[in-house]
């Protein structure tokens, strides 16, 4: 069992990722992970699950355990206190490990980007997670304070390669 798990970790190439992504194109199970959020984004995630937006028509379903989840919905700027729990929860997620960072806190830290008590968003700890052996296969960032329910659905579509993303780096000269 141990050997099998290790080989599975090492041999998980980009080809396997593509295959896995194709497999989960139909329906994904999501796990909601709050890392010190103000509850704004959490309420928007609940909005998405209500009959008004009804994401179960796409097969998206909220599950209670990270072991059952395909995608982790991460909200909050990752406070120091929640970091050990975050690492524990992400380690429990099976490969391919997909993370949907929702809200400007999770993407860039929002007004807490410079605070001593937070790590200032998910991009700052991806490298550290890699060192710990927790490889994040794909991350999609959904800005917004809080992110609109439509924006979250759009983010899921970008994650599953159903549509191409609109925003690109722009550099303009005066």
């Amino acid at each position: 069992m141990e050997v099998q798990r290790q080989t599975n970790l090492e041999t998980f190439s980009s080809k396997d990722l593509e295959k896995a992504l194709q497999r989960i194109k139909k329906s994904i199970w999501v796990f909601h992970l709050n890392t010190g959020s103000c509850n704004g984004c959490d309420i928007e995630i609940l909005d998405v699950l209500t009959p008004w937006f009804d994401v179960e028509r796409f097969g998206i379903k909220l599950v209670a355990s990270p072991r059952h989840a395909d995608v982790v919905l991460l909200t909050g700027p990752i406070t120091i206190k929640t970091l050990p729990r975050l690492v524990k929860a992400l380690r429990a997620v099976p490969r391919p490990r997909l993370v949907l960072a929702i809200g400007s806190c999770a993407v860039g830290g929002n007004i807490w980007f410079n605070s001593y008590a937070t790590l200032g968003g998910f991009p700052n700890i991806i490298d550290k997670l890699d060192e710990l052996g927790i490889i994040i296969d794909k991350v999609v960032y959904v800005p917004g304070c809080p992110a609109r329910p439509e924006a979250i659905i759009y983010g899921v579509a970008v994650m599953l390669n159903l549509i191409k993303q609109k925003s690109h780096y722009k550099k303009v000269k005066t």
Partner: protein, 165 residues
């Protein structure tokens, strides 16, 4: 069981409420604020927006030969204070909210400005467009002082006064 049956007439009366989001247009009112857009032909690079921005999503930095006004959408809270404070009305609030991206890099927007170098010490201190604007506004301001950085200008003014005495 009996209580549950009460729900059925209500549900039939209300009907289906689910909106068909990806196929139907989302609800966007006139007062909705999305990502901002900086008009590069109007922006002078004064930095008023960078000071008012609560999460410092807008930042001004001098890199090499250019001053860069950097807008990071990932940190923006869409408050619209930058559009209120902009003296040139160069910042426009769009209704764009579908901003999800796979790379953080894609969420940056840069506006490059030309920089004026101080004639005495050679340090870059202000964008040329802002300097031209100030030059137009202040007609009686001595021209030789305009192209000096604030520190050199102070030294120049003080040395002039001491010389006269």
């Amino acid at each position: 069981m009996v209580k549950f049956v009460k729900v059925i007439p209500i549900a039939t009366k209300v009907g289906t409420v689910t909106i068909k989001y990806p196929y139907a247009k989302p609800l966007v009112t006139d007062s909705f604020r999305g990502a901002i857009e900086v008009n590069p032909s109007k922006c002078t690079g004064c930095g008023a927006c960078t000071r008012i921005c609560p999460p410092k999503a807008l930042s001004m930095s001098i890199e090499g030969e250019t001053a860069i006004l950097r807008y990071f959408i990932g940190r923006c809270i869409f408050c619209g204070m930058c559009a209120d404070v902009c003296p040139e009305k160069a910042i426009k609030i769009t209704k764009e909210f579908e901003l999800a991206s796979e790379q953080v890099f894609d969420l940056y927007v840069d506006v490059e400005h030309e920089v004026v170098t101080c004639k005495r010490c050679g340090s870059k201190f202000v964008t040329s467009r802002l300097l031209n604007k100030v030059e137009q506004k202040l007609e009686e301001f001595p021209k030789e002082l305009l192209y000096l950085c604030p520190r050199c200008r102070r030294i120049e003014m003080l040395s002039k006064q001491t010389y006269l005495r």
